[in-house]
Symmetry: C2
Subunit: 303 residues, 2 copies
């Protein structure tokens, strides 16, 4: 099952050095989830050939413009392209007013429904759930109410051993129960324990998006063992005071979060326009957490 | 005196083929005027190295998103870059509400003043004027109230002949009067007619921006003799009915406008996403008005 992340935009608030504001696409087995939607996101969906037909869920972390100014353009293009599938938007309640004032002035009649899911940044909540995946909010600390998003695969079913189906002549109707952990009782009343029939399911994979935030550790327990962590790293070491003042993080601090959360891999992004060269941010982070990577636009990270 | 136009975006409503929504920069002797501001305009100002410090006036034709979705991002970046110079925005009254709802949700305190000049699309009006230039609205016909913008140099001063200054010993204090057309009376009371002292000033240059609109001829008298005309050309001949239905123009119709207005040169833009190859639009227009050019992004047209 495909589960990967494509970076569309990785820069902080002021676009520079041909880097663009925050946006990324999570692909779970062909279903697309857009996380943040800075200005020009629709151009980068085009550039990286991402098919919008499979994009039904958009998550907005907070209402600083570099995280949502591209949303109205994307919605408008959906409409001009005759989208009919409903769209779900998860984020601060203000989004609805922001979009509606644009639709009002352009006299836009939407051809598809938008379901706004108002996210409150008070405590972690499950805001999305389907058969295989759920999304929890992560409470961050920024100048505006801000949440991260924690995408987790659900624990899968146990894997049944094909040769055991033949050996015990297990009928089709019992398969699902055994995958869920049941023992098998054959027609003679003999009980075969589940452990003989199945192996453990693969470990659930997970992805956490944390941007924007000052350096905090309050969500580390929540994301313990996360496979892939994206954490903002607006600043380098030399600007640690500035990070604190503006409620942002240094790359070294992002690496501390990854280390304590025992993450598999860390991707850093949301870089300040002052840095054309990002290598110092990367090496400062790697000093703490070697499995750190830069969020370069177009890069795809497997989860 | 420099007077030229740089195309930043030339596509219609749906971005495609690496073309972007409407935006252009008029440079008059170093002062910059931005005309329309589709999504991503700030990225293209960066790309083409256009210095925003000289940009104090922004003109918005109408409130379809492809003409203004980039405005909030540009204003926000001005603010993050500590702009202090006041900014003037000319366009439909709704712009002010649109910007303010964003500023409210992001809790933005602007460090510079924005003066909104509400433009009403009922009859041509002078909406901007300085010592050398004026801007009139052009009344267009689209699905929303829409105006074009007609930039005209003012008639310059007459050119004084240097050798006549020496010959008649014209004192410095009389120079401006003579440039304005006065005769010169020397210390003996002898009158030298202005015609002997000066030559005509250069013809005033002009630029007219007409987008979006259905094909109309009602503004042709107003812009008669315009040096450079930008006219939308969303469609090719084969979609003439569609142009009428959506209140847009074909490239051939744009060329008709240029021909009847006796324009010096025509630039066509606002191309529909359905055309990857724009050559048919260009050749259809040139059949009517040979001095037609495509608005390709990054192209600079001298006026």
């Amino acid at each position: 099952m495909q589960f990967d992340l494509t970076i569309l935009g990785s820069n902080g608030a002021i676009p520079a050095h041909d880097r663009h504001p925050s946006a990324q696409i999570l692909n779970y087995n062909g279903s697309l989830f857009l996380i943040d939607c800075g200005e020009g996101t629709q151009f980068r969906l085009n550039k990286f050939n991402i098919k919008r037909g499979r994009l039904d869920h958009i998550f907005i972390s907070h209402l600083h413009g570099d995280h949502y100014f591209g949303l109205i353009g994307l919605l408008t293009s959906f409409n001009l392209n005759w989208r009919e599938t409903p769209l779900h938007i998860y984020g601060p309640a203000g989004i609805e007013e922001l979009m509606n004032v644009h639709f009002k002035h352009s006299q836009t009649q939407l051809k598809f429904q938008i379901h706004y899911h108002h996210v409150v940044a008070d405590e972690p909540r499950v805001i999305y759930e389907d058969e295989v995946l759920q999304v929890e909010t992560i409470i961050l600390k920024h100048r505006l109410p801000t949440t991260g998003f924690y995408f987790k695969e659900k624990k899968g079913l146990r894997k049944i051993l094909v040769e055991k189906i033949a050996e015990y002549k297990i009928p089709f109707r019992d398969i699902t129960g055994i995958k869920k952990g049941a023992d098998f009782t054959d027609e003679n009343g003999r009980v075969v324990p589940n452990a003989e029939l199945t192996t453990d399911p693969p470990e659930p994979r997970s992805y956490a998006y944390c941007s924007d935030t000052v350096y905090i550790d309050s969500f580390i327990e929540q994301i313990k063992g996360v496979g892939l962590l994206y954490h903002e790293a607006t600043f380098a070491d030399e600007h640690t005071a500035r990070a604190l003042e503006t409620f942002h993080t240094t790359s070294r601090q992002a690496a501390e979060v990854a280390k304590h959360a025992k993450a598999g891999k860390l991707v850093i992004g949301h870089f300040s326009a002052r840095y054309e060269n990002l290598e110092p941010l990367l090496s400062q982070a790697r000093g703490v957490f070697p499995e750190t990577y830069l969020a370069r636009e177009g890069t795809v990270f497997e989860i």
